[in-house]
Amino acid sequence: MVGAACALYATRAGLEVAVVDRGPVAGGTTGGGEGNLLVSDKGPGPELDLALLSGRLWSELAEEFGGSVEYEAKGGVVVATSPGGLAALERFADEQRAAGVVTEPVEADRLYDLEPHLAPGLPGAVHYPQDCQVMPALAAAHLIRASGARLLTGQTVTDVLRTPDGAVRGVRTDQGDIHAPAVVNAAGTWGSELAALAGVALPVLPRRGFVLVTEPLPRMVRHKVYAADYVADVASDSAALQTSPVVEGTAAGPILIGASRERVGFDRTFSLPVVRALASGATRLFPFLADVRATRAYLGFRPYLPDHLPAIGPDPRVPGLHHACGHEGAGIGLATGTGQLIAQALTARTPDLDLTPFRPDRFTEEAA
């Protein structure tokens, strides 16, 4: 998805672009995600700034692509499960509001107008009208198609070609060389491998997540609904399994249930305990789901960097090399802003956001 957005904004900035992927379109984490465009789970800081920029760009793209990418400005509802939790949630929302997020506290009695099927007795929630959703695979495919970029799928990059003075001059693939003065590393969870081909370290690691999918239903869950604990899990550094219920309906009918986080490498083994925890959390939030059938589950690997911020922009260690990866679980949402910032960097324009927090070489310095 991030690569597709980079392709779109780069071609619109007048560049000629080739998109190379060893798999198909959306074959990595994009195809294993839910398509969240969220501001609600982000506290003030550079990631939130990027999310706000990205949200604006997504709404522009929605005018253009609309239904074909299943864009839905449905809003998020973050539910507190205890009075103490509600107080903390409201404080968090206040900080977000100061940073430009639209937040609407929801009293307990109004909560069921927003989501009639929520479990009874919840103390309250915060409504985030800016939270949106797209169907990520469709979004990636349509953005690439609209970009007019050359799409080379099933082609593996085996080396990053460099001039004698170290600057990038293209990539070598298993099907020939592609020459270009700039290379954008949008390899997501596998971004560290591509960086290594260019001779630099970028510590992108996988954080596994499962998503449960139900039978098709009418719109019984209207927003993206999650428990306030989710925000803490997203920001957590723990390697152990964490699950917090994230429940949302889709335009196509099924309800999607997340979210689990584990650091288990690229292990694709189905895990009953994880999926059980997801089902248990979701049925606590929406009791009617107990009788609804899960038809499948899928998994993906979120690409995370140690400080939970992506790497965006030129790599000072290798002239011509740019990174656009490490967005963890927010890559779909942050793709548009990232694409825009990369296009601006590639064409030497002033970026919309300060790229300093996203510097790709920031971890090398720490190590040194």
Binding site: P216, L217, P218, R219
Partner: protein
């Protein structure tokens, strides 16, 4: 003319009544919803959620989920698997089978 019942020498117990959208139809002990509906000359009992097209039995063994039907207010039962009991209320199913 032969019939499947004659062929297998079936001597089922007395038939009983179930309803299809309120209309009474006869069913035999041991028959699934699909078998009883076929025997009553009914071959479709669901309309799809996208195009509203009629569907009934396709695979006959519980794999394809085309024969989904509402039985005693429970939606999305596979008609080819569910046996009938006296008084069961079968309802044709539209879309997801769930009320909005």
């Amino acid at each position: 003319m032969s019939s499947p019942m004659d062929l297998a020498g079936a001597r089922p117990g007395p038939s009983f009544t179930v309803t299809l959208d309120g209309r009474e139809i006869e069913a035999l002990p041991g028959q699934t919803v699909a078998a009883a509906l076929w025997a009553a000359g009914v071959v479709s009992w669901r309309s799809t959620r996208g195009e509203g097209r009629p569907r009934g039995v396709f695979c006959g063994i519980g794999v394809c989920f085309d024969c989904l039907v509402t039985v005693n207010d429970r939606p999305n039962r596979r008609a080819c698997l569910v046996p009938l009991n006296p008084g069961d209320a079968i309802r044709t199913q539209e879309g997801t089978g769930h009320d909005d």
